[in-house]
Amino acid sequence: MNGQGLDGDAGELGALQARLQAVANIDRGIADALHLIPDDVTAFWRSRAQVEFARRLADLADRLVLARTVLDDAQSTMQRGVDALAAGSHG
């Protein structure tokens, strides 16, 4: 597909697949970490009028959600690359 031949494509495909897998693992790790700040923890502090602390906890959760969203985009991009490289290596 890019003129480097089958071996080169297979190496790139393997590297991209490995990176995609690593990103998927990190995405799951962040999802697990997010469970440490469930809504009831934030609500606990808000109910005690510690609004600022509750806001910061929610802010923390938002950043991790943002990271997951961006990682979802990254995985889509990488998956497209994997598909393209796989098609090229077989075509």
């Binding site: 597909m1 890019n2 480097q4 080169g8 494509d9 190496g11 790139e12 495909l13 590297a15 991209l16 990176r19 690593a22 990103v23 693992n25 990190i26 790790g29 962040i30 697990d32 970490a33 440490l36 700040i37 923890v41 606990f44 502090w45 005690r48 602390f53 910061r56 906890l57 802010d59 923390l60 950043r63 991790l64 943002l66 990271a67 997951r68 961006v70 990682l71 985009d73 990254a74 995985q75 991009t77 990488m78 497209r80 690359g81 994997v82 393209a84 490289l85």
Partner: protein, 480 residues
């Protein structure tokens, strides 16, 4: 249901369970996010995959994870600082209260004769007031009835944590009052305070009251012990199980439960549960779990209930050197604590519910979990707890206000002391992930090995003795 707060256990922090739980979660979160952030630092992609490596998105995600990690660290540190400040303020307030309580107690004692004369002088005014009240209500009986009803309707005021604190200070000042009454200069009285020197304090005051009580009041008797029943039970899984196994305070019922665990060692290990006060009279009759034992226990001298418990342990087969976990409620907590302080058992743990034992220093290395409701006036009868400087941090104190909403002024203040309320607190303790509580639960598991228990129940009774004219009674040290 009010949250539990936990203090002590070597920590200078005091925090609500929610605060400590959040702190632990944030520490865990920060620890997890570090490797995830590092994992997103990928090497440059191969040329052929450059269009699909999503470097920009990965960099944004990495930055977001790092910001989240830094925020988690900052919030964790802020919570720690808040808990430390909370602890410092609480200790400073407690020290100040103790100083004021001691001064008030001393002044009350020093000026007691003058105060008595003043009170006698006020009697005509009191009589006039009552006469006026009778005219309004219609009769003396009606006045008395209204007064009785007023007191009954407001008895719950003693459950106000501020009222409980006041009682604590009055009790703590009792020793200073006695020394003031004896004409001791105030600086000397302070220097003798047992919180600092162990020379004369609440324990000394309780001892004086016990010794000076007239007739047969507060005087010890011999006791007898008999096994009541036996059976088997699963090993306790946590504090709620420990609380539920403490014998109920019922006349004629067993006061001691002993569980034997054969864990494969040369000797079995044991859990000894001791119940609370049954007879609230000051003149000892047949029941050793009475106020005579309460006062003697607070005074730090041997009591009928403690002797009966030791005798039950001996009859159950507990030998010196066996590992024992004493667990007690109210007076049972005083007894359980005395088992540890007297060296009667080889204990590395102690669990008490609603016991006035905060002033009792324990041997180093004993893990002590004390559960005290903030609205429990019985706990306040133990006076001020030991300060951090005097080893008070060894005690892990779990506190909670046992009522929800506004103060239940119409309820008996004893509600806060009920074992059923402490059992509810024990359930919260089992749900807590505080390492100090987890540590005690692990100790219980290690002691039992998860094996089923051989259970025996024991009943102690006083041997009623007539007061001999020469020596004031029988030999209370002779347990029969």
């Amino acid at each position: 249901m009010g949250d539990i707060t936990i203090s002590g256990g070597g920590s200078t922090m005091v925090g609500t369970d929610g605060m400590l739980e959040s702190s632990r979660r944030l520490a865990d979160l920060a620890e997890r996010l570090g490797p995830l952030r590092d994992g997103l630092a990928f090497p440059p992609p191969a040329a052929g995959a450059a269009a699909f490596d999503a470097s920009t998105d990965l960099a944004i995600a990495q930055d977001a994870v790092e910001q989240g990690r830094a925020l988690a660290v900052r919030l964790r540190d802020q919570l720690h600082e808040a808990a430390q400040r909370y602890g410092m303020i609480e200790r400073a307030a407690a020290d100040e209260l103790e100083r004021r309580g001691a001064l008030l107690g001393y002044l009350a004692g020093a000026f007691a004769p003058a105060l008595l004369i003043e009170l006698l002088g006020a009697l005509p005014f009191v009589a006039s007031f009552l006469l006026g009240a009778d005219l309004v209500t219609g009769s003396s009986a009606r006045t008395v009835e209204l007064g009785r009803r007023f007191v009954a309707d407001h008895r719950g005021l003693l459950r106000d944590p501020r009222a409980v604190e006041l009682v604590r200070q009055v009790v703590s000042g009792a020793d200073d009052g006695i020394l003031g009454l004896a004409g001791m200069p105030y600086p000397v009285a302070r220097a003798l305070d047992d919180r600092a020197t162990g020379l004369f304090g609440l324990r000394g005051a309780a001892g004086v009251i016990s010794a000076l009580a007239p007739g047969g009041m507060l005087k010890e008797t011999p006791v007898t012990v008999a096994g009541a029943s036996a059976g088997a039970a699963a090993a306790p899984a946590g504090f709620a199980d420990l609380a539920s196994r403490i014998p109920h305070s019922e006349p004629g019922a067993p006061q001691v439960r002993i569980e034997r665990y054969d864990t494969g060692g040369a000797r079995p290990s044991w859990i000894v549960y001791v119940g609370g006060t049954i007879d609230t009279g000051f003149v000892p009759h047949g029941e050793p779990w009475d106020d005579t034992s309460n006062l003697r226990g607070i005074a730090g001298v041997d009591s009928g209930s403690a002797r009966a418990t030791r005798e039950a342990m001996a009859q159950a087969g507990i030998r010196p050197g066996d590992t024992v976990l004493p667990v007690g409620y109210s007076q049972g907590g005083i007894v359980a604590t005395s088992l540890v302080t007297s060296g009667a058992v080889d204990a590395d743990g102690l669990v008490t519910f609603g016991s006035p034992t905060g002033q009792v220093p324990l041997p180093a290395g004993v893990h002590d979990v004390a559960v005290e409701h903030r609205d429990d006036v019985i706990v306040a009868l133990g006076g001020d707890p030991l300060s951090a400087d005097d080893g008070g941090l060894q005690r892990v104190v779990v506190r909670r206000v046992s009522f929800d909403g506004p103060l239940p002024v119409g309820e008996s203040p004893i509600q806060a002391h009920l074992m059923s309320n402490y059992a509810a607190t024990a359930q919260q303790m089992d749900a807590s992930s505080d390492p100090r509580l987890l540590s005690m639960r692990e100790r219980v598991t290690a002691l039992t090995g998860g094996a089923p228990a051989e259970v025996s129940l024991w009943r102690g009774d006083r041997v009623e003795v007539s007061v001999a004219p020469a020596d004031g009674g029988g030999d209370p040290s002779a347990t029969r």
